[in-house]
């Protein structure tokens, strides 16, 4: 076999091995997640940490996204004399898509890389082995708690981001037209259905799980010392973002099917 063929088959082999390892990792998560002990305190600590880490960035980004989107949408609506639709347009855009997606992308960068680096560092410095030999299940204590924390916290952050986005939008609309906060929110929510809120919440849960499990997987399997830690953090971000976009497409498609069913 020539070298090119060998490299190709080795690459294919590695891809299948990688998928199989990732599948086993996710399966182990579900196996361990519903078994005692639940480490609720650690889940709370991790949720708090994740929330605190991402909150400032989400506050700024959410608000700016609301302002900028409203500003960019206004000229197009003005052409048709439909600026009064701005609140409902922004309501749909932020609740259906932007809130969850922006939060997920920020958390993939901020939280996912942090988890990847932290677990990677613990792995290469034998802290994970130290837990094992102390009769503590490191997968349960480190992985299950972090994935649970991201799955719980990211939907909450997404709601917060959506609220701030709408607030930013209101500030922009209010600067141009005389509209009260209550009227703005009433208009914004007039076009939003239960399905929109449900799908947005469902998306955030899926994104939260993805960010947690990818970060943990990369960190837990880190090798090659400090270089491996950097790689784990980097891969955690890249793969999380890639998966989030795929999930976004799939969930939007499913929601649309349900909507028009």
């Amino acid at each position: 076999m020539n070298n090119k063929n060998y490299l190709f088959t080795k690459g294919v082999d590695n891809a299948f091995i990688g998928v199989s390892k990732a599948y086993s990792f996710v399966a182990l998560f579900f196996k361990e997640a519903f078994k005692r002990p639940f480490h609720l305190r650690e889940i709370f600590n991790q949720s708090f940490e994740i929330g605190i880490k991402a909150l400032p960035l989400i506050t700024v980004t959410g608000f700016v996204v609301g302002v900028v989107f409203t500003k960019q949408s206004r000229p197009s609506l003005e052409e048709f004399g439909a600026t009064s639709w701005l609140p409902s347009l922004m309501g749909i855009a932020i609740v259906r898509a932007l809130g969850a997606l922006v939060t997920a992308l920020i958390c993939a960068g901020k939280v996912g890389s942090g988890i990847g680096a932290e677990l990677g560092s613990m792995n290469v410095t034998e802290q994970v082995d130290a837990m094992e030999v102390s009769a503590i299940n490191p997968f349960k204590y480190l992985v299950v708690t972090r994935v649970a924390a991201t799955t719980i916290t990211i939907p909450v952050l997404a709601l917060y981001c959506s609220f701030l986005g709408l607030l930013g939008s209101f500030v922009n609309v209010h600067a141009q037209e005389a509209i009260s906060l209550a009227t703005f929110f009433e208009n914004a929510f007039s076009s939003i259905k239960f399905l929109d809120i449900f799908s947005s919440l469902f998306k955030s849960i899926v994104y939260g799980f993805t960010i947690g499990i990818v970060g943990c997987y990369m960190g837990y399997n880190a090798t090659q010392g400090t270089r491996g830690v950097g790689k784990a953090a980097n891969r955690a971000v890249v793969l999380s973002i890639f998966l989030i976009f795929i999930e976004e497409i799939v969930i939007v498609q499913l929601t649309n099917w349900i909507r028009y069913f």
Binding site: Q127, V133, A135
Partner: protein, 258 residues
């Protein structure tokens, strides 16, 4: 070498018994048929240069690695046949001190020591945990470092905390992986004294993996020399280094015996 030197005939007294142990990583054969017995109350030192398979051997004993072939019996249990719960029960009776100390760097000394205790004995009160932590810290002579972070400790102090963390579960067997690696001779001497003292206090058996002749000589009741995945010779220090083997002689000549 003959297995008779490695195995002690009184099986009832053995706490670790290893027979025909093999382990490879890809094409690299790390352990090529290891046999030995660790007796109750005994200190057994395994000497060997870096890459000779010492750390792999000790990791197989606590079930961190699986053997390719052979039998590893620890406190009457065959390690590679145990399920997770059985393995955890066994690990609570076997302490492990890492070469790098492997302290949890996000926890202070108190939390590092309390962690194995609180995770394994959930009904313990804060007071009970606190007094257990103070007791083990006192036994390693570090009571004043209770709330310091691992990053603020010296190499020797980290080793001591690592040993204290191992002691907190009151193990019947203590496994030391390169306890004096990276330490100056004075600190090494202190760690050697500590190993002997904690062994006496806990009435435990110890397996010491080291490349340091001074450490092996001063801690081991018996010593074995590991070379290319096999034991070259075992016995007392004098017996091991009294034979005409170029690897053993070479190892001896590169070390300074105190």
């Amino acid at each position: 070498m003959g297995n008779t030197e490695m195995h002690i005939t009184n099986k009832d007294e053995s706490v670790i018994s290893i027979n025909g142990l093999y382990k490879s990583f890809g094409d690299e054969h790390v352990l090529n048929g290891i046999d030995f017995t660790l007796l109750k109350g005994e200190n057994f030192a395994i000497l060997g240069k870096s890459g000779s398979g010492k750390s792999v051997l000790i990791k197989i004993i606590v079930g961190l690695l699986k053997p390719d072939a052979g039998e590893v019996i620890v406190l009457g249990k065959q390690v590679d046949k145990l399920n997770r719960t059985e393995l955890d029960n066994l690990r609570m009776r076997v302490g492990f001190s890492f070469q790098s100390s492997a302290l949890y760097d996000s926890m202070n000394v108190y939390q590092n020591l309390a962690f194995p205790l609180t995770m394994n004995f959930r009904d313990l009160s804060k007071k009970e945990v606190g007094s257990a932590v103070e007791e083990v810290l006192e036994s390693v002579g570090l009571t004043e470092k209770l709330y310091q972070m691992p990053s603020d400790l010296s190499g020797g102090q980290r080793k001591r905390v690592g040993i204290a963390r191992m002691l907190i579960l009151k193990p019947e067997i203590m496994l030391f992986d390169e306890p004096t690696a990276g330490l100056d001779p004075i600190t090494s001497g202190e760690i050697i004294e500590l190993i002997n003292a904690v062994k006496k206090q806990n009435n435990a058996s110890s397996l010491i993996i080291t490349h340091d002749l001074t450490c092996a000589k001063n801690t081991g009741d018996r010593i074995a020399m590991l070379f290319e995945g096999r034991f070259l010779k075992a016995g007392t220090f004098e017996e091991v280094f009294d034979i005409d083997n170029e690897h053993i002689k070479g190892f001896y000549n590169y070390n300074f015996i105190q």
